[in-house]
């Protein structure tokens, strides 16, 4: 055996140990360096959801924001569920890893209450170019806690009813200017089968607190139901809640799209574009796709407010907004970024560089008088603004509520509660269980959550 071999044999373990040490150091270094990125002076870390409007922003930031301000922006982009979890994790521990994050009007009130967000009212007041008064009052209100603004909207949406004008004309049907749910149910029965393979209406049935629960809860609100009464008692088995759910499930089973139990926003959008349904009740943001380039139904769609029963309006309110973490060491730079991303100028920038259909709309009154935007969105701009102005998260039903929110209950537990209830509702839409059974089981889940608050 040559001597070099035995030398190798003796030194190999030492080498191995050294190498391992290096590896371990590298690992711990990788873990530790994440926090130092926010340490440099002119850079901020932004965590955001991977929606198209945010991806557009990511593309435009370097050229139009960093160039003029010198502030480098490090983006972390994740799907919605992951974003919610990471934001909750980082903000709740006040770790300060992210200076700015996309939060919605669902989280903002309780994040603010827990003291995780920087109040933005004084920044917004002193920044005249930002023009806070241009922000739609309902959107601003939904991001306000105890008189202080805690987040600035990036885009907003409500819900309305979309219907095929050509199909209605051919069948001699008339859509009322302010339909009730009973009228819509009758129209759905009439329009069912108007064309080969066409159903009356598309309604979501896919499990998820942001899927089936959103439209269903707006129906519950307008039919006199609520998740919780003012004393935090769960109301899912109350006659009004039950009647509304029965109505929703019966309508979708009788005249709704086929396979409704797995249909969310995306599937309904497909159904509408492919002439598989005559009506669709969903988010106002759907109109942009329906009227967009290449849509086979562009120009054939009419828009009316969300159907009602006992209330004046029933459209929901949702906004993705920018919150600044209280523990962030870059408050000034963070505000500069937020005020730029939520500004009127940014909307114009998107309009002129990427096209007016891509504008993050639904948050400023001025958007709806902008000739550029109206050139692309004339069909639905008016109805969208009407819906946004009618949505009142503080008082969406017929009785006082313990927490804000139209299509959700503004408490942290609702994500879990809504998701569990949604699976039971979806089972009922699939015909596996009765609505009564679904709500009885849901009531037990909701009562548990209500009990946590009842004592406070």
């Amino acid at each position: 055996m040559p001597p070099s071999n035995s030398l190798l044999r003796r030194t190999a373990p030492i080498g191995a140990v050294v190498l391992c040490g290096a590896l371990l150091a590298a690992c711990s270094g990788a873990g530790g360096s994440a926090g130092t990125a926010s340490g440099s002076s002119d850079s901020i870390n932004v965590l955001m959801v991977n929606n198209q409007q945010m991806l557009d922003l990511q593309k435009l930031t370097a050229q139009y924001f960093t160039k003029s301000t010198g502030i480098k922006v490090n983006f972390t982009v994740l799907p919605e569920d992951d974003v919610r979890d990471k934001v909750t994790q980082d903000f709740s521990s006040q770790a300060g890893q992210y200076d700015v994050a996309t939060i919605s009007n669902y989280e903002t009130p309780f994040f603010a209450k827990d003291g995780w967000l920087s109040p933005l009212s004084s920044d917004a007041r002193s920044d005249t170019a930002f023009d806070q008064s241009d922000i739609l009052p309902n959107i601003q209100q939904s991001l306000t806690y105890k008189g202080q603004i805690y987040a600035e909207p990036f885009y907003g949406e409500s819900s309305f009813l979309m219907y095929r004008k050509d199909v209605f004309a051919a069948k001699h049907l008339t859509m009322p200017a302010h339909p009730t749910w009973q009228q819509v149910a009758a129209l759905a029965a009439e329009a069912d089968g108007a064309q080969s393979g066409m159903k009356g209406i598309c309604l979501r049935g896919q499990p998820g607190w942001g899927e089936v629960i959103a439209p269903l809860t707006t129906v519950v609100n307008t039919m006199g139901g609520t998740w919780f009464n003012d004393n935090w008692q769960a109301q899912l088995t109350s006659p009004a809640f039950e009647q509304a759910t029965e109505f929703y499930v019966d309508l979708v089973r009788a005249h709704g799209e086929a396979g409704a139990a797995q249909d969310g926003f995306t599937e309904c959008l497909n159904d509408m574009e492919q002439s598989k349904v005559a009506m669709w009740y969903d988010a106002t943001s759907a109109a942009g796709s329906l009227e967009g380039k290449g849509s086979p139904v562009a120009g054939k769609i009419g828009y009316v407010p969300a159907p009602v029963d006992q209330t004046k309006s029933s459209g929901w309110l949702y906004t993705w907004a920018w919150g600044i973490q209280k523990a962030s060491k870059h408050q000034t730079d963070a505000w500069k970024f937020v005020s730029w991303a939520s500004s009127k100028q940014y909307e114009d920038l998107v309009g002129t560089t990427l096209g007016w259909a891509s504008v993050p709309a639904g948050k400023r009154a001025s958007t709806y008088s902008d000739p550029g935007y109206l050139s692309a969105a004339s069909a639905f701009a008016g109805p969208t603004l009407t819906a946004l102005n009618a949505a009142n998260p503080q008082d969406p039903g017929v009785q006082p509520r313990p927490a804000p929110g139209i299509q959700f209950v503004g408490i942290p537990e609702f994500e879990d509660l809504g998701t569990q209830v949604s699976q039971l509702i979806s089972d009922a839409i699939a015909g596996q269980i009765s609505v009564g059974t679904a709500l009885k089981n849901s009531q037990a889940l909701a009562a548990k959550v209500g009990a946590r608050y009842a004592g406070h």
């Binding site: 044999r9 979890d85 909750t88 492919q274 598989k276 942290p412 699939a430």
Partner: protein, 322 residues
Amino acid sequence: MSTPSITRTARVPRARRSGAPAESGRQRGAWARRAPLLPALIFMIVVTQLPFVGTLVISFMRWNALDPDDVGFGGLTNYTNAFRDPALRSAILTTVELTVTVVLVSLVLGLGLALLLDRRFLGRGIVRTMLITPFLIVPVASALLWKDAIYNASFGLVDGLLSWVWKLFGSTHPPQPDLLTSFPLASVEASLVWQWTPFMMLILLAGLQSRPTDVVEAARVDGAGTWQVFRYLTFPHLRRYLELAALLGSIYVVQNFDAVFTLTSGGLGTANLPYAVYQTFYAGHDYGEASAEGVIVVVLSLAIATFALRTVSSLFREESLS
């Protein structure tokens, strides 16, 4: 590997020739071979075992991200909560049903395809590549494909095919079967079977091609028919490969998340264990309970993996003895 193999005993005389005592020389030689692997081993332990230890620790903690001021030791609360949760209990049953069905069906289909591919025919390479393709597609993409392009009752392939056939006969009202709603678990299983059959096929094909051909020829000379050759020669030879494929498949399918998440969002009684963990973690933000559920999944997977490893090692033993 305690059994002395032929190859190892053959090397012993060389160690004696170098004058060193046989035993220590062999040990040194063994360590010289092992040392270069040590960094990899330690790296493996760091990246796989330490996170698991972390999960174990968190599973005994009270830790919900929505309540950051109340983090502490929670004892067995998370485990009792997990087992008390009817959703988790049904998730365990769903997982077992899903795994057993998917593995058995794809094993049978994989065996059939492997036997067919074992023959020579024109275009065999192309067919083999096409059959393997489903296994190479990103799981979440394949799940989305099944949900919207195949199952969707309004615009899916099933619906389109029926409409087309009915149109041929002049009917405007074709049936609109809604497979995902009528047979939710079976639909999820079908998409997984499509994905895992190629995996089974590959393992069994490898097994088939390691079959000694002279034995088969001898059997044919002795007048054995096709069925008898399969029954008495091929099948016994394939048994180990079947076991291996089944166990490896089980380990993977138990952990499947994409199909349930995408196809049914855990609705209609299709939520399996990984989905339940996901929901506790992402909707409930309850890291303690999610970790406890994760540990339960690991324990169940370990039970299966133990069998798998035993099978594999007995396979290697046979290889080295033959």
